[in-house]
Symmetry: C2
Subunit: 365 residues, 2 copies
């Protein structure tokens, strides 16, 4: 076998194959990267997107481009992850921009802010409405390039020890909630606090805090909040469609061959789609189990939603006046959102509305 190929190579012209070699080496180089997820392995759906992404990149390049995913804390913790990819400690990370709202609130707009849009609308804004170009123009200042990498869908509004019906019920309420959403709740009289995920349960149990938000049924179930704060409110109006990005060091990104760049983009699309699909597939049964375990579902009242919407818009006006980056991205998001809901209220919303009503009427025939 070996000898036959040697002869064949000679017969067909050694020069041609020798010239081709460098081109192959250039277009499919062997690359090893590390990907630090900002999520712990316990958030298996979110962390799993990094595993899916890495698997696709490896399989589509015959193992030449290998990306090793790490959970939050294995290389760097979530709070340091953006710095780590900015300064080249890791080649890439996976997480939502709003984790870094303390650096600049514009980073929250990349992920989600109160009363913005739903998952499909955000995908349309990023991929067709110019949003992803705006994001990458902006994040260049952090020395990174980003690719959309999944969305949890609308989250829940969190677990409350007592019912919350009016604005009065929010006064002084110690609520575990972060970022811009925390600022909105503070304007309404609540006291936003920050506690690591593992400390929430005992704090709710002892009454050190009155309420806490996490993700949605599938992730919330694991933490057992229903036992100590049974009122489970919806919707999480501050997270209608929290989008997660893959963030890649800018020089590392630019040095990739074109084929690897395209592979990274479509691998991220597929991993992102799968992330949302997993939540959508897993949340219903988790919700059933939570209700069986004592969770009491409650919608936020119109009074609370209206006050929160007003407070959110005041914060956006404030930030827009002070921060041109924020204003540029917010204006794009807001006008896109308003057009989107003009259309979604017609076909999409009325279809879902009928399916929900007929489900109730026919007990889910």
């Amino acid at each position: 076998m070996e000898r036959r190929h040697v002869l064949k190579a000679g017969a067909l012209g050694l020069a041609a194959s020798a010239v081709a070699a460098p081109a192959i080496a250039q277009s499919s180089p062997e690359i090893r990267w590390r990907l630090s997820s900002t999520f712990p392995k316990s958030l298996d759906t979110l962390y799993g997107a990094s595993e899916t992404f890495a698997r696709i990149v490896s399989e589509t390049t015959d193992g030449k481009f290998q990306i090793q995913p790490f959970a939050a804390g294995e290389i760097v913790g979530m709070p340091q992850a953006l710095d780590a990819v900015s300064n080249g400690t890791v080649e890439m990370i996976h997480g939502p921009g709003y984790y870094y709202v303390g650096k600049d609130p514009t980073l929250a707009l990349m992920a989600d802010v109160p009363f913005m849009m739903n998952v499909r609308q955000r995908l349309a804004w990023m991929h067709v409405g110019g949003g992803q170009d705006l994001i990458n123009d902006y994040v260049a200042k952090f020395n990174v390039y980003t690719i959309p990498g999944g969305n949890t869908g609308t989250q829940m509004g969190g677990w409350f020890r007592k019912e919350i019906k009016t604005l009065q019920d929010l006064q002084g309420l110690k609520f575990r909630i972060a970022g811009l959403a925390g600022q909105v709740l503070a304007k309404l009289g609540a006291v936003p606090t920050q506690i690591p995920g593992g400390d929430i349960y005992p704090a709710l149990e002892r009454g050190t805090i009155d309420a806490a938000e996490w993700v949605g049924p599938y992730d919330d179930e694991k933490l057992g909040f229903a036992k100590v704060a049974p009122f489970y409110y919806y919707p999480g109006f501050w997270e209608g469609a929290p989008n997660v990005h893959f963030w890649i060091g800018k020089e590392k990104w630019e040095a990739l061959p074109k084929s690897y760049k395209e592979i990274a983009k479509v691998a991220a699309s597929h991993a992102g789609m799968e992330l949302t699909a997993k939540y959508d597939a897993r949340n219903p049964a988790a919700l059933r189990r939570l209700v069986a375990a004592g969770a009491q579902l409650r919608p936020f009242s119109q009074e609370i939603l209206d006050a929160a919407f007003k407070a959110s818009n005041e914060i956006y006006d404030d930030l827009s006046a002070k921060n041109p980056d924020f204003k540029k991205m917010y204006d794009s998001l807001r006008s896109f959102r308003n057009e989107e809901y003009l259309w979604f209220q017609v076909a999409e919303y009325t279809f879902d509305n009928y399916m929900i009503r007929s489900r109730v009427a026919t007990s889910g025939r």
Copy 2:
């Protein structure tokens, strides 16, 4: 340059490079396929998914795997496309299963049937809920393998010359509508008819037909129906989330190297996501223009929706009793749908509901 490489190849050992050659040839073979879309170029969003898919496959394989897209009719027309991919006339096609409902109604379930689910729920069913495995087990009888390749989102209910308020208004109504939806409308007293897209306008103008459905604002606008049948009904309850597949000849699929299979899957995911995002981004402005041109938006009445839902379920029961393939896929879809809406009615739906109401209240602030 050439000479230096010749020397280098000799110095490093010709045998090694000659042995490596077959491995490279196996893992990255040069392949040329033809992709027949079932859509004309005038449906640029739907047809465009084939162009996006082909571009990604080429770019991610450094041009080694080339797929040339053709519009409907360039090689085969839409009605013959499934046969063409089954018998190897073309390597692949792009289109919705319901085009071939005449062969077997199970093919409609792959795409969409009346009162089923929304886009995210269908993605979750296919990718996480076992739906795509069920589909591929089933379509093996047509000698094909399929990959999900996009969704238009909920379509509109069509253009009507007169208002339709009650079931009485549907009696004898000549409605251009196909497939299972036509059977549902027939049960309600309408007369479903089939007319090619280009003949709809004159038929509506002359009153040869009373109503016609097409897609949604972006595609409908081009055909100018608002001038001759101004009542624009919603939602298209027979197409809550019409899903389009890429269909590949089974032997052709199985002969692909693993890396090309994975590339095809993620290229289809990205092209499909972009297809939906384009409709979502383009429909709002088209809807505005249609209303400005005289379209009058009307929701289907509860009476009509309830009768259509009942008729649909009767048809599903009928088909399930006669057709085990239909029953198997329908049972999976129905139980998945009912679980999905249990969850979607909580966070997703109430978020959209508030955003729609606040948009109206604040004139889209």
